[in-house]
């Protein structure tokens, strides 16, 4: 087994571990932290079903962002929906036989990479062009976009320009999953692409990418508007009642 294969295998095991443990800890931490008061941004749904619908609109369509700013919405939605299709397409490297719907999604996933990179480019341009957004941007805000664009472009290069050996690549990842190491194709574009993905996985749980799990825990969006009908008390606050 080559050194490169050993390095990449080790890298992906560590990156996956950090991603799963880091994200798992964050989700555990959010869920154990109480929300002592009812603070949904109103008008809000009065039933749990309504909350699921509100949240679905938020996560799938970015409803609040649509209300707010059409440019950010267009670029943000292109990027996220493109990324979703691209990720779905990538499942073919991790499943054997490839799932039916993953087969269907292949051509869409291919061109979705253009949506994804176009959206990211738009978001990056806003960071330079809009004075208010420039003011709030930190170096990591720019670098995060650059990282995602680099992942997208290196992937597109392999899809549209210089194909890599995807059969060997699949055997490498299947080998990782079943603890049966297989050689990684030593294509420089692929190696760059994979290294950047591993980096993204590592920084996910310690960066603003936490907006992904965070949105589901946002009390202004996930609470039911029923405070007159249901008494809502956090454990630490309930103790105060007993002193009366």
């Amino acid at each position: 087994m080559s050194t490169v294969t050993m390095i990449y295998a080790g890298m992906f095991y560590i990156a996956t571990l950090l991603l799963v443990v880091g994200l798992g800890y964050k989700i555990f931490d959010y869920s154990r932290t109480p929300a002592p008061l009812k603070i949904p941004t109103t008008p809000a749904p009065t039933t749990q079903k309504g909350v699921v619908y509100r949240m679905a609109k938020e996560v799938v369509l970015f409803e609040s962002l649509f209300k707010s700013n059409k440019w950010i919405w267009v670029f943000g939605w292109l990027f996220h929906f493109g990324l979703f299709l691209v990720l779905a397409r990538h499942l073919r490297y991790f499943t054997e036989p490839v799932w039916f719907w993953v087969v269907i999604v292949q051509p869409f996933g291919k061109y979705a990479s253009i949506m994804m990179v176009a959206g990211l480019a738009g978001l990056l341009a806003r960071r330079f062009l809009v004075d208010r957004v420039r003011y709030i941007s930190t170096p990591s805000d720019y670098l995060m976009l650059v990282l995602l664009i680099a992942i997208g472009l290196s992937g597109m290069l392999m899809t549209f320009v210089a194909h890599t050996d995807i059969v060997a690549l699949k055997s490498f990842f299947m080998g990782l999953m079943y603890l049966d190491l297989k050689p990684i194709p030593q294509d420089p574009i692929l190696l760059v692409h994979l290294a950047l993905v591993a980096l993204l996985m590592v920084i996910f749980p310690i960066s603003k990418l936490l907006h992904a799990p965070g949105v589901f825990f946002s009390p202004t969006r996930n609470q039911v508007d029923n405070p007159r009908e249901h008494r809502h008390v956090a454990a630490w606050a309930a103790r105060l009642d007993q002193n009366n």
């Binding site: 929300a35 603070i39 938020e58 609040s64 208010r132 603003k208 809502h232 606050a237």
Partner: protein, 507 residues
């Protein structure tokens, strides 16, 4: 210590997004609370040697108690959606008044002390040490936020800057940097029973005077009962209603509604205040103590219903928090809640907003109104932020918008809404909410009112609107003081029940 002179912004045809001008509002410092006030509330009297440790400790404490704070500090991606949504940014063009930048004042410290990335690579992720300079920025800019939640409507993750501002102020309190205005009020309401510090006997005299005025005016003996045991309704209203103009006109309106409907009611001298400034920082305990006076009064007087007068943040606390804090509401199955629930009349929502009560009475024909009594007026309605974005009326989402408008339209013939992007959930704060209604913040208040003044100006020009109704004591006080600076007549602002008062038939 007179407040600095400043230019009044010019009203344009539309609400414009200004180019940012850094630091133009950094000179604003609300007056600090004195040592005795701070100590009464259990905070240090002044900034001590160990302020930094205290601040970080308190931040850690709040992060463990409030999921909102923890999630909101993590989730922001700096997308910029909120940057043009705050009335204080629109009115001042200071970038630290953009919601995300206001949050970042705390987020930079959070990242430095509580996150891996900020501990390892502070520059990269915009993390900063907590210095006196940063603390001073907090004191400036957390008192340039009215906690109106407009930004939370537009944030893709629902990040509510109000939650961050509240936490920021609470940390400031804990290091000895409290605000004079809010903390003095929190002292008065706990010692005397209302924010204005009006003692029981004085309140009784005031109410008697008002009864005489109404009788002289209408020929009908409308009563303003105080501390009447066994009354059906306990009315909890902001103390400004007792003698501020135009607030008192709405109080007269409530009294006439109860009289015309034949509902026995009472005010309480123990709980003569709907307002709860405990909302404005993240001190659950203080907010609970202030709210508890109302529970105590309800139990003492044996009332069956609790109704809340025209006050924005008070309605937020009443509607959203009273059940949690004091058991005023339904659904509790613990002894504390049950004690009050078995006394309350389950056929009514508890607490109930005065607009819900009056609108139901008008619709069911139990009280009669003559809208032509208001034919001298062309009316618009200002949705108060806490009512609009932090509460509800009626049974349907959005009832907080439709019920006051239904009620207004039943008592006036001429009504026009302001522009769509300035009402309902998109409403602009009056500029004086969230503990900013003090003369030492006049510059912030005047500039923050610019978006609302612009929207109002447009309906004045198009529809000759000459009255803006609202259901918030702070909005009323703020507008009567600030709108004249933009050339409007202070008399054009008043309560919804001020309109009801004119139109209601008493015999």
């Amino acid at each position: 210590m007179a407040a600095a002179e400043f230019d009044i912004p010019e009203i344009k045809d539309d609400i414009e997004i200004p180019r940012l001008r850094e630091g133009v509002m950094s000179h604003v410092k609300t007056f600090p609370a004195s040592k005795p006030i701070q100590e009464f509330l259990g905070y240090p009297g002044e900034l001590g040697e160990d302020w930094k440790e205290r601040a970080i400790d308190k931040m850690g404490d709040l992060l463990g108690k409030y999921r909102s704070l923890k999630v909101f500090l993590d989730a922001c991606v700096h997308c910029g959606a909120c940057t043009d949504k705050c009335h204080y940014y629109l009115g001042t063009s200071d970038p630290k008044n953009m919601p995300v930048a206001r949050q970042d004042l705390m987020r930079q410290v959070y990242r430095r002390y509580f996150t891996t990335a900020g501990k390892l690579f502070p520059k990269l992720v915009g993390a900063k040490d907590l210095t006196k300079e940063v603390l001073d920025d907090w004191y400036s800019y957390y008192y340039q936020c009215s906690e109106c939640r407009r930004c939370s409507v537009y944030c893709p993750y629902g990040i509510d800057t109000a939650e961050i501002t509240m936490a920021g102020r609470e940390i400031l309190n804990h290091v000895g940097m409290g605000q004079k205005y809010s903390n003095e009020i929190l002292g008065k309401v706990q010692k005397i029973g209302n924010n204005l510090g009006l003692p029981g006997p004085a309140l009784g005299d005031t109410l008697e005077g008002l009864e005489e005025d109404i009788e002289a005016d209408t020929g009908v003996a409308v009563k303003m009962p105080l501390d009447v045991k066994g009354a059906e309704v306990l009315l909890i209203t902001p103390s400004a209603d007792f003698f501020s103009e135009p607030h008192v006109e709405s109080l007269i309106g409530y009294a006439k509604v109860f009289h015309a409907a034949g509902i026995s009611w009472t005010l309480s001298s123990h709980a003569s205040e709907a307002g709860n400034f405990g909302l404005f920082d993240a001190n659950y305990d203080v907010m609970r103590k202030v709210a508890m006076r109302i529970r105590d009064a309800a139990l003492e007087l044996g009332v069956k219903r609790i109704v809340v007068g025209e006050c924005g943040h008070a309605w937020r606390v009443a509607y959203s928090f009273w059940n949690t804090l004091t058991g005023i509401g339904y659904g509790g199955n613990d002894p504390f809640s049950i004690e009050l629930q078995k006394q309350l009349d389950p056929t009514y929502p508890q607490p109930q907003h005065i607009c819900e009560l009056t609108n139901d009475l008008v619709k069911s024909g139990k009280i009669k109104v003559d809208p032509s009594a208001n034919d001298d007026l062309v009316v618009t309605y200002h949705d108060s932020c806490n009512v609009a974005r932090a509460s509800r009326m009626g049974t349907e989402p959005g009832g907080q918008f439709t019920i006051p408008r239904e009620l207004i339209k039943s008592v006036v013939n001429n009504f026009h809404n302001m522009a769509d992007d300035t009402i309902y959930e998109a409403t602009f704060c009056c500029g004086g909410g969230g503990g900013l209604l003090t003369d030492d913040l006049m510059e912030v208040r005047v500039k923050g009112a610019l978006p609302r003044a612009t929207a109002l100006n447009n309906v004045v020009k198009e529809h000759q609107v000459n009255f803006m109704a609202t259901i918030c004591a702070i909005c009323k006080a703020q507008f009567t003081k600030v709108l004249p600076k933009y050339g409007f007549d202070m008399g054009m602002v008043g309560g919804v029940h001020q309109l009801v008062s004119k139109a209601i038939k008493l015999d």
